[in-house]
Amino acid sequence: MTQKQRATQPSSKTLPKAPTGIQGLDEITGGGLPAGRPTLVSGGAGSGKTLFGVEFLVRGATEYDEPGVFMSFEETIPDLTQNAASLGFDLDRLVAEKRLFLDHVHISRSEIAESGEYDLDGLFIRIADAVQRVGARRIVLDTIEALFGEMPNPGILRAEIRRLFDWLKQKGLTTVITAERDRPDKLTRHGIEEFVSDCVIVLDHRIREEISTRRLRVVKYRGSTHGTNEYPFLIDEHGISVLPISSLGLDHAASAARVSTGIDRLDGMMGAKGFYRGSSILLSGTSGTGKTSVAAHFVDAACRRGERCLYFAFEESPRQVIRNMRSIGIDLEPWVRKGLLQFHAARPTYGGIEEVLLVTHKHISSFQPSIVVVDPITNLLMVSTLNEVRSMLTRLVDFLKTQGITAIFTSLTAASGSLEASEADVSSLMDTWLLLKAIEVGGERNRALYVLKSRGMEHSNQIREFVLTNDGLRLLDVYLGPEGVLTGSARVSQEGREKAVVTFRRQEQETRRRELERKRQIFEARMVMLRAEFEVEEETIKQTISESELLGEEMLQDRGQMVRSREADTSAYKKDGGAPAARKR
């Protein structure tokens, strides 16, 4: 819708093509319808042929600067204008701007008789006049076969219609001829496909299991490659959108940038950085394991970074999601009000799988988010077969990857059966797969998660228990017991046991420390006692010494007196009188 280019392609070797501007169709046809040639659009009643034609002209006039003429052989102009308005096209304005010319060819069989030869020059002149009035490059004949019902002599009519197609081709008008298909073995009621050899598109509207799907197929495109599959398409207030079943190639860029999961410790489990930007993440688990909560964390974190998020809720209403997430401390409402977060809630049963896909596409294209959440994809199985869901998801994943959008898909696993096997069908599409599970041990259920795979990054192999608190989801420490990871009460009791061991050790240390102290006190007390004893002894000894000294002197004195009294030589006794006595001791 954004690109504006002329109808003719720059490359002269390839067939020039006129882009239809119809979402997705130009992709299938490799650029549009053959320019300057007729294209047959065939389909049953109510298959959208007229709207196809209208959109082809409106887009041509508004986006590619190619005015158009609509020759209606069935609907009146007011009816046509009104029907086009339901697709958001204002035909009156385009007519007033001379970019579109509407002509209603009405013939009533009751008032017509035939007499002799005739030709369709009247129609030719009308068309030529209309084309000239707006300078048309495109024209739609809807449905020219109606003439067979109104005009006599089908032989002449066939020849004239053939001449008309040749004439339109000569004039270089890109023409869409619609035709009613009432039998599966024939493209048109009167076999006019013989005259249109360039391009044939078949529209189909079928009902299966009470759900209607519209499909489009390019049956033939002379001189050009084209997708040959049946492509689902949708008609809504923005016109027709066709979706290629499989994208053309796996050539999307792979970003090395990472985005946080919004849960610190979960980031930690994936190389401390989180998911790759633009990757697809599968969150699977049985009911009540917290899939939406994990997704909500991711959304909340993205909105905090100022990124836009688109949330497809296939099970809960937006209000319900917001309320429930508030209970774990995530308030999404401000993001909705700021326009960063958009919810789209609908039961897939509303319109079938193709419609879901197309609606998803449309919202993504118009909102341009960087994060998309689909919650849950399992609800899609309600409306379709596994095969179709898988093909739809493949297309969605491819589309998201080419847009570089990070996507989270939640998937509900049935309580019975293997957790991993049931998801095998979609898991191969996903880059990262987080498995949430309930672990039942000791009469209680606890939540645990692990990273089952994560392409292109290191990731933890641990099964981690988590709890949903008022503050959000919290991953807990890993406690391994003899039977694996301990959760819930078992974890609590293990935590208790570990605490007890620590306490015991601390007490033991305390006791030892006290023992030491006691010993030191005993030791010190003994020291004091010993010193006291020593002091007593010392005192005694000192007394003894002084007593004996005293005694020695007295003896010397006594001896001196005796010498003096005997009048002998006194020098020897005076000099070292005490020494012999001290040596004796």
């Binding site: 002509d103 060819v105 009405h106 013939i107 008032e111 017509i112 008789a113 035939e114 007499s115 002799g116 030869e117 005739y118 030709d119 369709l120 020059d121 009247g122 129609l123 030719f124 002149i125 009308r126 030529a128 006049d129 003439l147 005009m151 006599p152």
Partner: protein, 111 residues
């Protein structure tokens, strides 16, 4: 319009009192093709025989007035439109089959 090729041949005569019905006929053609010349000739003969004095033929060449094709919902040429007396009837072709033309115009042949 530079040259008006439109042949508006009015052969109006006063309608007779007993038969007030006046026929207003328009013949749409696309140029002077053999078919259109034939159609006009056939029509004139027929009118002279059955509607003498109470008819008017207007020949409209759509090449000159293409927009007029829309007004009368003309697809095929030649187309003869009986405007009056109502209801509107159309006959396509060169009018070579007189019987069918008379039936188409709901004209009672005058004996």
């Amino acid at each position: 319009m530079p040259k008006t090729k439109t042949k508006t041949r009015a052969r109006t005569r006063k309608p007779r009192p007993g038969k007030p019905e006046f026929w207003n006929l328009r013949l749409y053609v696309a140029g002077q093709t053999p078919k259109s010349i034939r159609a006009f000739a056939n029509l004139e003969v027929l009118c002279e025989r059955h509607l003498k004095g109470r008819y008017r033929i207007e020949v409209i060449d759509l090449l000159e007035h293409p927009e007029m094709a829309r007004g009368d919902q003309i697809v095929a040429v030649p187309t003869l439109v009986r405007d009056l007396p109502g209801p509107v009837r159309k006959i396509i072709g060169d009018l070579s089959n007189t019987e069918r033309t008379l039936i188409g115009l709901a004209l009672q042949p005058v004996v």
